[in-house]
Structure formats: structure tokens, C-alpha cells
């Protein structure tokens, strides 16, 4: 069977806009959550977010392209540029027709929609930008990446809310395994810290109303919602022999992928995490890996009361009460970047394997009797990681899980 390995990564996040910065933050438990500074939040219940404060798109593209692309696309280009450089790829080293881009985006250009809707209301339809549609559509992230990097194969955006990027990595893996592609750029991007999106999530009671220092506290008894974040991460994944042939550096192998749906409720997870359990189990079965072999789970761990409880139940059903299994939610530091979260956290997982270090779940102070696993509270631990699992779940009942192996 064709095997798939990760040979390049790039990240833009609230805790770092390069692999080095990002890993330093994860390792030291440094959060990136702060009061929202880009618009007035005095009338909002939720007032904090994981913003990428110093993001300058013109570092990655010319002024014209920066102007013509929504923030989520700019961030996709930024993380993909780092991943491409990191992979050592060049066009001469690949068949561009067998190189694809499979990307996860939950919403897309909300920022542009909101801005142009004000133009419509104030100045009328004749003033609407001809770039509204190309800037807004969720598939423009992989569309622009194809142009930038000359990846001419299968190309699409996959949208399963907060599971988008994890599903994208899994589906891209399947395309390489199935012989359709040799190489793929995959991951996700999201930038929706906007007035409308914040109000929407806030009125679902999905967001924490806390202060920056403690708002994101996954698995803690006092958790009260997630903290919205923005960012992007891109992974270059490649057929194993293809990677070996060009002498690529390998972060790890994608050995398993599971994908299910709860078929239960539009936004609430099924009470016992059955869909999550089945996705995790499917990933292990595909890899032929026994649960006792897994050393680390980078959890979805959103810090909402329901997610963390049902995810814990799903993990316990598959792994039992194993306290030697490290679990952590890196959302405690970076916040929840929605459709990009799975990619940012897959990068975190692969860096954890590479560095033999489990990043912590920070802001953990009050144990929840119903969440009684080893969440790696507050301080990371050194540990050799042979197999690590990455979970993501999304509104719509989507569950996605990846299993990585250190080579």
C-alpha cells in the first residue's frame, strides 16, 4: 500500500507565525489570547480572542494580491509559503499534475461579506466590489495556492466546520494512497474574528465570557466556552517513496484516518461521544494499531462544557482509564481557529513527536470529576511519542481523527 508522510509544515497562529515561534509557545505554555482590539466589543458577551496581531500579508504577496484576497486566503498563502520552503520542494522535483491542494475552511471571507454588506446598505449595489465573490468563496484558499505553487492536480475546499482541516488532511491522505496524487498541500485557514461572526457564536452561548488569562481552560470544571481564534496551517504530505527519492526530511507518517457523523443534532455532540469514538477507533483500525500503543492525543478540547465531557467519554471508551496516555488541548494557548484548528493542531502534534515533548493544557485549576484523564495540566512533559492522535469535531455532527506515527 502507498504510504503517506509529512514533509513540510507552516503555521500562522495567535501563538506564533512560524514553526519556531509556535513551538516555543507550545513548549513554554505561553498563551496568545487577548482582548479583541480590532472592533468595539463593549456590547458583546465574549470579548477575547486569539488574534494574529502582527500579521502583514505583504510579507507573503505583493500589495495588489494582498488587497484582492480575504484574510483567510492571505493566511493560507503565508502558512503554505513556510511549508513549501520547509519541504525543500521545487517544481522540478514533482509532477505538478499529480500535486493537489485539499484545504479546510469553515466559513471563508466573512470579513469581506460584512464590509461589502455595509457598502450595499450605504451606497447601493453599483458600488459592490467585483472582487466580493472571488474574495469570499471558501475555495479561494486552495485556488490561490494552486496558482502560487503550480499544483495542478485535484483541488478543493472541504467544509465541516471545526473539523474541516482534519478532514482535509485525511482526505488528502486518501487521494495519495489511492494513487490519484503523489503530493498534496493540505491544512486549513480561518479568519473570522469579525463583528457578525463573534455575535453569532456568542449568541449560541458557545464562547467563553472570561478574561484573557483564563477564558480557554479545556477540561477544567469552570470552563464556559471556547475562545475564537484565527490562523492557518499547511502541511505538505507526500507518498513515502516519492519523499525518500528526493531525500526529504520526514516529520511523521499519516497512518490512520477516521471520519464519522453523530447523526444527532445540528450543533450539540451526541451525549456519549459515540461518533467521536467511532472516528478515533476507525483511525486506529486503519493503521492496525492497538490503543495501548498510542502515547498522546492532541484533543479537540474546545473548553466548552459539552465537548470536553463527550470527548473524554469517547477517549475512555476507546482507551479505558489509562493515566499514562497524555492528552492535551493546545487550544488552551492558541484558542480555537475553527476550520483551521485541526491543521494548526496537527502541526503541534507532529512537532511534539519530533521534539519528544507533550505540550500542556494550560489554565487547568479545578478538576472536573467527569473529566478525569491525564490532560497534561499546566506543564508539558518530555516523552517519546511513537503514535499520536489528533481529534477534531464540528457543528453538523462531524468527527474526524488522524493517527500519526514517528518514523
Amino acid at each position: 500500500m502507498r504510504r503517506v508522510v509529512v514533509t513540510g509544515m507552516g503555521v500562522i497562529s495567535s501563538i506564533g507565525s512560524s514553526l519556531t515561534e509556535f513551538w516555543e509557545s507550545l513548549k513554554s505554555g505561553t498563551p496568545g489570547i487577548d482582548w479583541i482590539s480590532t472592533f468595539d466589543v463593549s456590547e458583546y458577551g465574549a470579548k477575547v480572542a486569539g488574534q494574529v496581531k502582527d500579521f502583514d500579508p505583504t510579507r507573503y504577496m505583493d500589495r495588489k494580491d494582498a488587497k484582492r484576497n480575504a484574510r483567510f486566503v492571505q493566511m493560507a498563502v503565508a502558512s503554505a509559503s513556510e511549508a513549501y520552503d520547509d519541504s525543500g520542494l521545487e517544481n522540478s522535483l514533482m509532477n505538478s499534475e499529480r500535486a493537489g491542494v485539499i484545504y479546510g475552511v469553515g466559513l471563508g471571507g466573512m470579513d469581506v461579506i460584512e464590509d461589502q454588506h455595509s457598502v450595499l446598505m450605504n451606497k447601493g449595489p453599483s458600488r459592490i466590489s467585483p472582487f466580493l465573490i472571488p474574495m469570499t468563496i471558501a475555495n479561494m484558499a486552495p485556488g490561490l495556492l494552486a496558482i502560487r505553487f503550480n499544483f495542478k492536480g485535484t483541488n478543493f475546499t472541504l467544509s465541516t466546520a471545526c473539523a474541516s482541516a482534519t478532514n482535509a488532511i485525511g482526505e488528502a491522505t486518501r487521494l495519495i494512497r489511492g494513487g490519484i496524487l503523489d503530493i498534496a498541500m493540505t491544512g486549513g485557514s480561518e479568519a473570522t474574528i469579525t463583528p457578525l461572526a463573534l455575535a453569532g457564536f456568542s449568541n449560541m452561548n458557545a464562547l467563553s465570557r472570561g478574561t484573557p488569562d483564563t477564558a480557554s481552560r479545556p477540561f477544567d470544571r469552570e470552563r464556559d466556552g471556547f475562545v475564537m481564534a484565527e490562523g492557518s496551517a499547511t502541511l505538505i504530505i507526500e507518498e513515502y517513496e516519492h519523499a525518500l527519492k528526493r531525500g526529504a526530511m520526514i516529520y511523521g507518517e499519516v497512518v490512520g484516518y477516521g471520519s464519522t457523523d453523530d447523526a444527532f443534532h445540528i450543533t450539540s455532540p451526541e451525549e456519549y461521544g459515540d461518533g467521536a469514538y467511532r472516528a478515533m477507533k476507525m483511525a486506529l483500525e486503519e493503521a492496525g494499531v492497538d490503543p495501548v500503543e498510542v502515547d498522546y492525543i492532541n484533543a479537540h478540547g474546545t473548553s466548552t462544557p459539552l465537548n470536553d465531557l463527550t470527548e473524554t467519554r469517547a477517549i475512555k471508551r476507546l482507551y479505558g482509564n489509562r493515566q499514562d496516555l497524555n492528552i492535551s488541548s493546545t487550544k488552551s494557548m492558541a484558542g480555537h481557529a475553527l476550520g483551521a484548528a485541526g491543521a494548526i493542531e496537527a502541526v503541534a502534534t507532529l512537532l511534539s513527536m519530533k521534539n519528544s515533548f507533550v505540550p500542556p493544557t494550560i489554565n487547568y485549576s479545578s478538576p472536573d470529576p467527569e473529566c478525569d484523564l491525564n490532560y497534561t495540566p499546566n506543564f508539558g512533559v518530555e516523552k517519546d511519542l511513537h503514535y499520536a492522535q489528533k481529534n477534531s469535531f464540528g457543528f453538523g455532527g462531524h468527527n474526524a481523527s488522524l493517527l500519526f506515527k514517528k518514523l
Binding site: D62, K64, R127, P134
Partner: protein, 82 residues
């Protein structure tokens, strides 16, 4: 009435801003598509900017006759003479 040279300067500044270029890279002879790399969407956007900045209306047929910066300058000068 504005002088033609002032109008040209203003048009170049609008075009530079819209296409993300420096004013110094653009002259009266610059062709939108061939020299400035504009595509059809850029032209629609550019015409909107010009309409806003000069407080004028530019029809679609007029737009399709613009090849160079000076075509636009000439069109605006004629309007302002009226």
C-alpha cells in the same frame, strides 16, 4: 476646470492605489492590460474608484474604449470642459 496634467496625476494616483503599484511606475502611455497587468475585474474596480474620486459616471461602453491612462484623462477632461 482642472488642468490636464493635474487630472493625469490624479488618475495615475487612483490607478496606482487600485493596482497596488507606485505612481512612478505609471505614465500617460501605460496600457492597462499589457503594461499594468490589469485583468477584467481590475478594470471594473478601477472604474468604480475613478467614478468615486472624480464624482462622474462612466458607462460600460466608455470603459471598454479605455486602453491607456491618457484615454481616461482625455475622457475626464472632456467631461469637465462641458
Amino acid at each position: 476646470m482642472e488642468k490636464t496634467s493635474t487630472i493625469q496625476e490624479k488618475v495615475i494616483s487612483v490607478v496606482a492605489d487600485s493596482l497596488g503599484m507606485e505612481a512612478g511606475e505609471i505614465s500617460g502611455n501605460s496600457r492597462f492590460i499589457e503594461d499594468l497587468g490589469a485583468d477584467s475585474l481590475d478594470l471594473v474596480d478601477l472604474v468604480m474608484e475613478l467614478e468615486d474620486k472624480f464624482e462622474i459616471q462612466i458607462s460600460d461602453s466608455q470603459t471598454s474604449s479605455f486602453r491607456t491612462i491618457d484615454d481616461v484623462v482625455k475622457f475626464i477632461s472632456t467631461l469637465e470642459e462641458k
